[in-house]
Amino acid sequence: MSIAWLLERMQQWPERNAIVWHDQAYTYGTLVEQVQAWVEELDRHDVGPGLVVTLEGDYSPNAVSLLLALIARATIVVPLTRSVEAHRDEFIAIAEVQVVISFDDEDGWHLERRALQVSNPLTRNLIDSGHPGLVLFSSGSTGKSKAALHNFTPLLAKFQLPRHSRTTLTFLLLDHIGGINTLFYTLANGGTVVAVPSRDPEVVCRTIAAHQVQTLPTSPTFLNLLLISEAYERHDLSSLDLITYGTEVMPASTLERLHAIFPKVQLLQTYGLSELGILRSKSRDSGSLWVKVGGEGFETKIVDNVLWIRAQSAMLGYLNAPSPFDAEGWMNTQDVVEVDGDYLRILGRHTEIINVGGQKVYPAEVESVLLQMPNVRDVAVLGEANPITGQIVTARFNLFEPEELGAFKRRVRAFCKDRLASFKVPVKITLTEDEQHSARFKKMRKG
């Protein structure tokens, strides 16, 4: 059983808190009991090895213990959350789900069977090997969601090495590689995972203070919202000693402000992909965007300024797209990087680079400048086709207070004059009332 080692370890500290959900703590003892109860419940419903099972739920103790039981029973788990409700049926069809187990707000559950044979050869091979599986859907912030199929056994292997026991807030849920990583890191080391009912900065800060959270793994988009809200002024965040950020490029201006406001908190950039798992990383220092990535089980190389990775914990492949791996197992991350010795600086997705008359513009760099303007709450920079310069830079803004568009445009261009090369200055400027980030707090640069 691929997680026998984890369950044994969890039994070593039955009194410690494993999960805080809806402000209530649940111990490792309770969680282990619930896992046993779920294993029996699954047997009663004839849910066993090789079945594809959707777990629809939050980070509740019941959902987490079901996840562990599903791994123990060698099923293929497809975690889904409410944030992807619009794509639910599509995702269930792609993954060829045979059993749906959904949780309600009170942590009650419902099981439904779907009469269906698994036909995808990737899934069939994994089932034949007898290993548990995991299907994660990419957020599709720049295109169609892809379904990554993992063998759960190698994904969990890296957590066997003991590390620090920490109280960590879960910003990402079980349907995201980051949420999965936080869960297993924490459980394998006797730490506590603290779930939040919403990703509102006020709620997050209140929760950090109430449960003495030490680690906040999050995204630059959320950190921007946190800085704007000033919610950190209204709560005691002295327990916090580590903020990690990843999933998108950090604007230099955001990191600088964050470091000034939280001088004692270590700021660490993380790097991971749903296709590969999360790499170990080390920022040069808290104020630096330079980061070393790698660690046991990961190899990296740079080809034409683009980062390639080979990972032992790599997925088996996509269920709905061609394999992204070359013959030697390397994957092109599409992330363009600068290199300084062992350190990298991530500039942006190759596909998001805007080409203005042959000159490259990285959206994150432009956004970092624009975010420093007074009255700007958020901004998304993207390219638009143009027959004269190939592409033009466009910027879509959210403002705090309404402003007349013409006057605002003049203000933007005046602000950019000494701060950006002229080809990087947004040509098209629009205002929006809509939020420009996904449910996972990742910036959406959609046209």
């Binding site: 203005v356 008359g357 143009n386 027959p387 004269i388 310069t389 033009i392 568009l405 003049r410 261009r413 005046a414 004059k417 002229s422 080809f423 200055v425 040509v427 098209k428």
Partner: protein, 106 residues
């Protein structure tokens, strides 16, 4: 059928927008601009980025003021024997042509 803005009104809009774009792009502001003023080329008041900015600005203003959605720079514009982006007057003519097509469609 409503009739669009007349040529002079449009040319005034083009010139006003042109002045603003030049002012905002660190370029020397010309003393006067008229129909025959070159937009591109040797004696031009704009570089390629400023030209693109002018076009996008005009698209946005025409939409705001006359409620017409035009694409001024596209394959059609680029494949004209004489580019509509040569002078202030040629650009104004091109805009007027596109507007009358748009309005005729209603």
């Amino acid at each position: 059928m409503s009739s669009g803005p007349d040529f002079d009104t449009l040319q005034t809009l083009v010139i006003a927008t042109l002045f603003e774009v030049v002012e905002q792009s660190n370029k020397p502001v010309p003393e006067s601009v008229e129909g025959s003023t070159s937009l591109v080329g040797k004696q031009a008041v704009l570089d390629s980025l400023a030209l693109v900015t002018l076009i996008v600005e005009l698209e946005q203003r025409l939409e705001e003021e006359y409620d017409v959605m035009l694409t001024l720079a596209d394959d059609r514009a680029m494949s004209q024997k004489h580019s509509p982006f040569r002078t202030v007057a040629s650009l104004t003519h091109y805009i007027a042509e596109l507007i009358s097509e748009e309005m005729g469609r209603d």
